[in-house]
């Protein structure tokens, strides 16, 4: 499986700066040159439909048309939230079926999911939603499960598959010594599956604040050569915890982490400024533009030879063209 990993690492195009797609954001924001790609959560364009005893996810054509018009030909990457890739009872097959259709309608450059679980089997054997994503224990069983599924996804979609490191508040769960902690879990899964990492630096910061560790030391332990995308976001204090709220501007320590981390990630293809749609009005289009501009400055200055420039453009153009 590590062979396929090498293959996909080579195929990460240098996209640049990205923004999540929200129907409520002004279309000009996607069309004014401030961003190079769009990160789409396909579930927000879907509705559920009963299909016998199961539930199907269906892309709503009108919403897809509107999104495509807004994104105006920019490359897209998919950032899913509903797969629940770490659920031991089974993942969300309806999500993957929907994604098959989505890919036919709108090919994406890469695809990412959160490393965690949000569905479980209750004591009556029914599938339930936890209501909030929960972290996986760093065990061999969890690593094997997610690595197997990640490899399946890689084959199924033929584009790089990324796993995002989560923010968590719970104390460290019981672990297997050969895996160690959440960083060990990520490293093991990537190695076994050939998938890559979506490094969420706000999540790293959040965990560092809440669990009292040095985020820079944590970054140094991460498999940075396998990082394909970086997320930055804002958060806020709540009840003595720094919350991964995606409710505002990126805090200074996260910018510092980005400046430290970016030059150390040789395969990274882009930075996405994340926010929740509910908080978009408070941030405003100007506020979002300012964060994007700052992210672009960091991207442009990330190190000799790795810049967003002519040397990388042929790769980018070839890969994106193949997807469109």
């Amino acid at each position: 499986m590590s062979g396929s990993g090498a293959k996909f690492k080579a195929a990460i195009p240098q996209l640049g700066i990205g923004l999540p797609y929200f129907a409520s954001l002004p279309a000009e924001l996607y069309q004014c040159g401030a961003i190079d790609f769009v990160e789409i959560t396909p579930e927000i364009m879907c509705r559920q439909r009963p299909a016998g005893d199961a539930i199907e996810l269906e892309v709503v054509p009108q919403q897809m048309v509107r999104a495509r018009s807004t994104c105006a030909g920019l490359p897209v990457v998919v950032h899913g939230v509903e797969l629940s890739i770490g659920s031991a009872h089974g993942w969300n097959g309806a999500y993957l079926k929907m994604l098959d259709t989505f890919q036919e309608m709108w090919p994406f450059v890469w695809h990412s999911e959160h490393l965690g679980f949000q569905t479980f089997r209750d004591s009556d054997g029914r599938t339930q939603e936890s209501g909030v994503p929960l972290p996986l224990p760093p065990t061999s069983e969890a690593a094997d499960l997610v690595a197997r599924r990640s490899a399946t996804i890689l084959e199924r979609y033929g584009v790089p598959f990324l796993l995002e490191n989560p923010a968590y508040y719970l104390p460290d769960p019981p672990s297997d010594p050969e895996i160690g902690d959440d960083i060990g879990l990520m490293r093991t899964i990537l190695k076994r599956s050939g998938s890559m990492q979506l490094l969420d630096l706000h999540n790293v910061y959040c965990n560092a604040v809440n669990h009292h560790f040095d985020p820079f030391a944590a970054v140094d332990r991460m498999p940075l050569d396998a990082v394909a995308e970086i997320h930055i976001a804002g958060g806020s204090w709540d009840g003595g915890f720094w919350m991964d709220a995606h409710d505002g501007r990126v805090p200074e320590p996260v910018w510092e982490l980005l400046e430290y981390t970016l030059p150390r990630c040789p395969s990274v293809g882009g930075i996405v400024f994340e926010m929740l749609e509910d908080h978009v009005p408070r941030l405003g289009a100007d506020g979002i533009r300012q964060e994007l501009t700052r992210a672009r400055n960091v991207w442009m200055n990330r190190g000799q030879g790795d810049g967003y420039g002519a040397t990388r453009l042929p790769d980018f153009t070839r890969t994106v063209s193949a997807c469109l």
Binding site: Q48, Q128, L134, L170, G240
Partner: protein, 244 residues
């Protein structure tokens, strides 16, 4: 199966922290069992539960926005607390959450009441709106066939107002007191193919909808005195549909 059992125990503990033992009947290592039992009272666990409740209340609040708007803040908070505390608010898709939460609310509101009317209206509007995304106007010529069976539309519904609907809705929008409950009932009928998804139901439309508690042939309805025009209007609006 350790991971399966650990996830079940942890998720149940987060979702419904009612003091019960979530690890009962599942196979856990002593370390996992100790971890889960140590979570009780742990500030990080309490914060995780708080985040979960907040996300769930946020989803439920969006899913029943109109109905919650007509309730007092005490009623609203109580309903949300009960719903989220019993494991509600976890559906990721607003349609599924709305359906479940509005039904939960409807069972707890007095009948008749303007609050219940708004709740039923929100549910009917949701169903007809979702239905409109896939609704295709059916061929009306089928009504004349001898084997034509009709039933209520899957995405249709009726809502009784115990005052002029405009007065109730205006009170809701302006956050003013609702008019008194009246015995003069106005009925709105909802269907995915109707203009604006609803219309004020005529006496004959209401009688036809009431008649179709189970499938009935179109010929039988005509023989009972329902006009083809009324039948066709409701079929065209998705209020009725062909049964086979």
């Amino acid at each position: 199966m350790a991971l399966l059992d650990f996830q079940t125990s942890l998720a149940q503990l987060v979702r419904v922290s009612d003091g019960g033992d979530p690890s009962k009947g599942v196979s856990l290592t002593p370390g996992e069992r100790r971890y889960l039992s140590d979570l009780a009272g742990n500030p990080a666990f309490c914060f995780t539960v708080k985040v979960q409740r907040s996300w769930c209340a946020g989803r439920a609040g969006k899913a029943a926005y109109l109905t919650l708007s007509i309730l007092t803040s005490e009623q609203r908070d109580l309903l949300l607390e009960h719903w989220v505390g019993s494991g509600g608010g976890t559906h990721s898709f607003v349609g599924a959450e709305s359906e479940a939460f509005l039904q939960f609310i409807a069972r707890r509101l007095p009948d008749p009441s303007h609050e219940l009317t708004i709740c039923r209206m929100e549910l009917a509007a949701l169903r007809s709106s979702e239905g409109s995304l896939i609704f295709q106007r059916p061929p009306l010529s089928r009504i004349d066939r001898a084997d034509c069976l009709l039933r209520r539309g899957r995405n249709a519904g009726v809502v009784h107002f115990y005052a002029e609907p405009e007065r109730v809705l205006n009170a809701l929008l302006k956050r003013e007191p609702c008019p008194a409950i009246s015995s003069d009932v106005t009925t709105l009928i909802f269907g995915p193919g109707l203009d604006r998804l609803y219309t004020r139901a005529s006496w004959s439309e209401m009688a036809l909808y009431d008649r179709l508690q189970s499938s009935v042939s179109a010929a039988e309805l005509v023989a009972e005195g329902f006009t083809r025009e009324t039948i066709a209007r409701l079929v065209e609006g998705g209020v009725l549909e062909y049964a086979e």
